[in-house]
Amino acid sequence: MNIQYKIFSKGCLDVLPLLIPVVPFGIIFGVIGIESGLGSTVTFLMSIIIFAGSSQLAFAQLFTGGATTPVIVSSVAIVNSRHFLYSAVIAQYLTKVKLFWKIVLSYFLTDQAFIVSQKYFKQQPKNKDRHYHLLGSGFTLWFVWQLSTVAGIILGEVIPKELNLAFAVPLTFISLIIVDIKKIDHLIVAITSGVFAIIFFNLPLRTYIIVAAAAGILVAYGLSHSKLHKKK
């Protein structure tokens, strides 16, 4: 077993705990895709072409509401703009890999893969094969996402809406930041973002996500001043 394969496998394993909510989310997307009238082909291909859950749900909702292509595409862009920030964080670890790798790994850069692989990259400052970890976490998530979407398409109307499985989405995001927000500075940033999201929820095109994230980042920038000086 060579070292690349070992790192790839570690990526696959590390992301597994985060997949539990991904399965119901994928199933929900499959069900909602069918209910929105996207059809099974478009619903299935959307999970491959976009491969970003919350924006896929936004796409389905907007399509049902009769939104035009520019509105749908810009909404997807807004919901996924957080990837710019993930991309910036991951970029510092991928400066030495080939363009082909950058393209493949960018496609796999989801919330969950970002969380586990960024953690691994931080621990491996000198490992030249560390990018295999992101391939492992990203591919595993991709595979499970496609299977869950198919399951959702098949199950369709069989799953009772009363189960409120969509609630697994905020719970997932809570579980992803729970360790960070034990620190008071992170908690301040998180509450700022959350409160802004509620206040600006009715802005058009789901832009509240951008407004809330910008507010959070701005507060973080202010807090980073004291953190930077503490380090010296």
């Binding site: 909510p21 749908i72 920030l85 579980s175 509450i191």
Partner: protein, 103 residues
């Protein structure tokens, strides 16, 4: 029309992921920018969490008489104590189902 929307949505999503990876060179970031980037999850995820917990299906703010608020609070508490992704999600869903189906 739907195919155009799908292809462009896919391209734009890929672009958000590829953008900085394609552009940046080593040591592009100042120490301060690196610190701020560490706050990114805390700055973005609550924008998804808060509306999903505190708003009802018509976008109205509901604190009381909202089972999602109590379920989320229990999930936060369990997550705080266990630091386990699975325990956090399962406890939240379990409380939600308990409140919806049994109380």
């Amino acid at each position: 029309m739907i195919w155009t929307a799908l292809i462009f949505a896919g391209l734009v999503t890929f672009f958000t992921r590829f953008s900085m990876i394609a552009l940046l060179k080593k040591d592009y970031f100042s120490p301060r920018v690196k610190i701020v980037l560490g706050y990114v999850p805390s700055a973005v995820f609550p924008a998804i969490i808060f509306p999903a917990v505190f708003l009802n299906s018509t976008g109205q703010l509901v604190f009381l008489d909202n089972p999602k608020v109590l379920a989320a609070l229990v999930a936060v508490l369990v997550g705080y104590l266990t630091e386990s992704v699975i325990a956090t999600i399962i406890s939240g869903l379990a409380v939600l189902w308990l409140l919806i189906f049994f109380i």
